[in-house]
Amino acid sequence: MTEPILEIRGLAKTYKGGVRALDGVDLEISKGEIFALLGPNGAGKTTLIGAVCGLLNPTEGTISAFGLDAQSHWREVRKRIGLVPQELSFDMFEKVGRAVAYSRGMFGSPADPARIEEVLRSLSLWHKRDSRIRDLSGGMKRRVMIAKALSHDPDLLFLDEPTAGVDVELRRDMWRQIDKLRSEGTTIILTTHYIEEAQEMADRVGVINKGKLLLVDGKDAIMAKLGRTAAHFTFDTPLEAIPAGLSEYPLSLDNGGTTLVYRGGDGTGRGKREVADLARALVAEGLQFTGIETTESSLEDIFVDLVEGREPAE
């Protein structure tokens, strides 16, 4: 792992009503990566972001960013962090250009109209710079939120559900934008409940539920560890037992012997190869199957299994 840009240790947050939204979270984020925090509603994603960005006081734990303790060096730390919250929230009567310039000033950066223009152009908002925010479309409002967060050139950017409630085209647009930021060296932490999004965007994925990080790993590593291939071979005449020559494969019989089920692989393609080998072996054994159906478990299956507290299907 390269130099960590953010280190979270034992972070916990209990709200006044007694709800424990975060329950001992440890997390390290490397410089330049895109990290997706994946979890259902109410899992603690927004609380985690809020704790790092200063929106709420954590109950326990420490946070350090850029090698500085976020509590004692809050000014330096916050200056370099940008946040795009989930809700559209701004002074609706303000004009786009002014709102973005105001954000830059608030974070202590010197006025820089050229940079503001650059940010607005990159988000296709430049032609709307003199429009009031309230007159913009929903998608544009969301981009204004992003422009505000980017106005002070943060090194670490938090996007809370960046594509919740946006149409397909805008989502693609957002992904392109995030990709561009990554290429410029910005570290990005995004929350999402779209698996597709985590799969598409992130280098690493953390699965969070009920305030606990269940799993943090590279996207491919998660697939390798938990991904599964299932294959169903159907036979007209039921098999009485699993053929002896095939005992090396993870097999089971179903439907009174008319279905031979393979469950194995690791999400890297090994499962598919084994199924092909298995098919040849069956033919060699003289067993005539009449159909094959194979399925790959997706990140979605893994996610659902994890969140529901089950071990991934074997």
């Binding site: 809020g50 709420l56 006081n57 000014r75 105001y102 000033g105």
Partner: protein
């Protein structure tokens, strides 16, 4: 200290004020003019100047009216300034920014004070159209207006953080500040009151503010000027302490 941040907030707040300048300025000016027409010109001409430290009744009430506007404008400007981002959710940005007590006070409270000064200036000019008055201690008057504007902008800021709805935001100025201002001697000298009202008035903090300001205008005060000044400074210190505690604990700001 993030000076640029403080300045950005200050400028943003002032631009919000100028965006609605017409209403922000017109309503206090109109209210003050009405008071001056009714009390200063119509009723005041029948009043005996010896009751009011020798000045005309119109000149006597100018500082009181100025105080009336100063208190309500400072309080409402500042309370709305911080309540609006809380209401719209835009507060997230302030909380995530390198902005602390110092920057917030300079930005939000500073802007509210400046707005109050602008309105005070306009009211003093307007008052000249209706009554003849002079300012006995102009520099002290200016300083005193700044002090009072700061005190109530700070108070408004606390109100804006405390309030969890528009109703509370309106109710405190309406039910507490306005009655205290009227009963604090805006339109009369406490000497015209019978006991026990004279004594009760001594417990009204705004009574001291009005008399302090009146002294800088007319040289006349119902209370020693040192006491009036001390009360104002004490009030400011109290408000700053409360705000510092709010920021330290994150009360109503950070869950």
């Amino acid at each position: 200290m993030n000076a640029r941040g403080a300045l950005a907030i200050l400028r943003n707040e002032l631009s919000r004020f100028f965006r609605t300048a017409f209403g922000s300025i017109l309503s206090p000016v109109l209210t003050t003019s009405l008071y001056l027409v009714v009390f200063g010109a119509a009723i005041g001409s029948r009043m005996d100047p010896s009751q009011f430290g020798g000045s005309s009744y119109g000149a006597f009430i100018v500082p009181g009216l100025l105080m009336l506007t100063l208190l309500s404008e400072s309080t409402s400007n500042s309370s709305f300034g911080i309540y609006m981002p809380r209401f719209t959710g835009a507060i997230y940005e302030l909380l995530s920014a390198p902005v602390g007590v110092a920057e917030t006070l300079l930005g939000f409270v500073g802007a509210a004070v400046l707005k109050s000064l602008i309105i005070s200036g306009i009211i003093m000019v307007t008052a000249l159209l209706f009554v003849d008055y002079t300012i006995a201690h102009p520099i002290l008057a200016f300083g005193y207006i700044i002090l009072v504007a700061s005190a109530f902008s700070l108070f408004g800021f606390i109100l804006g953080i405390w309030a969890d709805g528009f109703e509370k935001l309106q109710i405190v100025p309406l039910l507490i500040l306005t009655p205290l201002t009227f009963l604090g001697g805006t339109f009369y000298s406490v000497k015209v009151l019978a006991e026990p009202w004279q004594t009760i008035t001594q417990f009204n903090p705004i009574f001291y503010l009005i008399n302090g300001l009146r002294w800088t205008f007319t040289g006349y005060s119902d209370v020693p000027i040192g006491l009036a000044f001390g009360m104002t400074v004490g009030f400011i210190a109290l408000c700053i302490t409360v705000i510092a505690v709010i920021f330290r604990t994150g009360w109503r700001l950070r869950g």
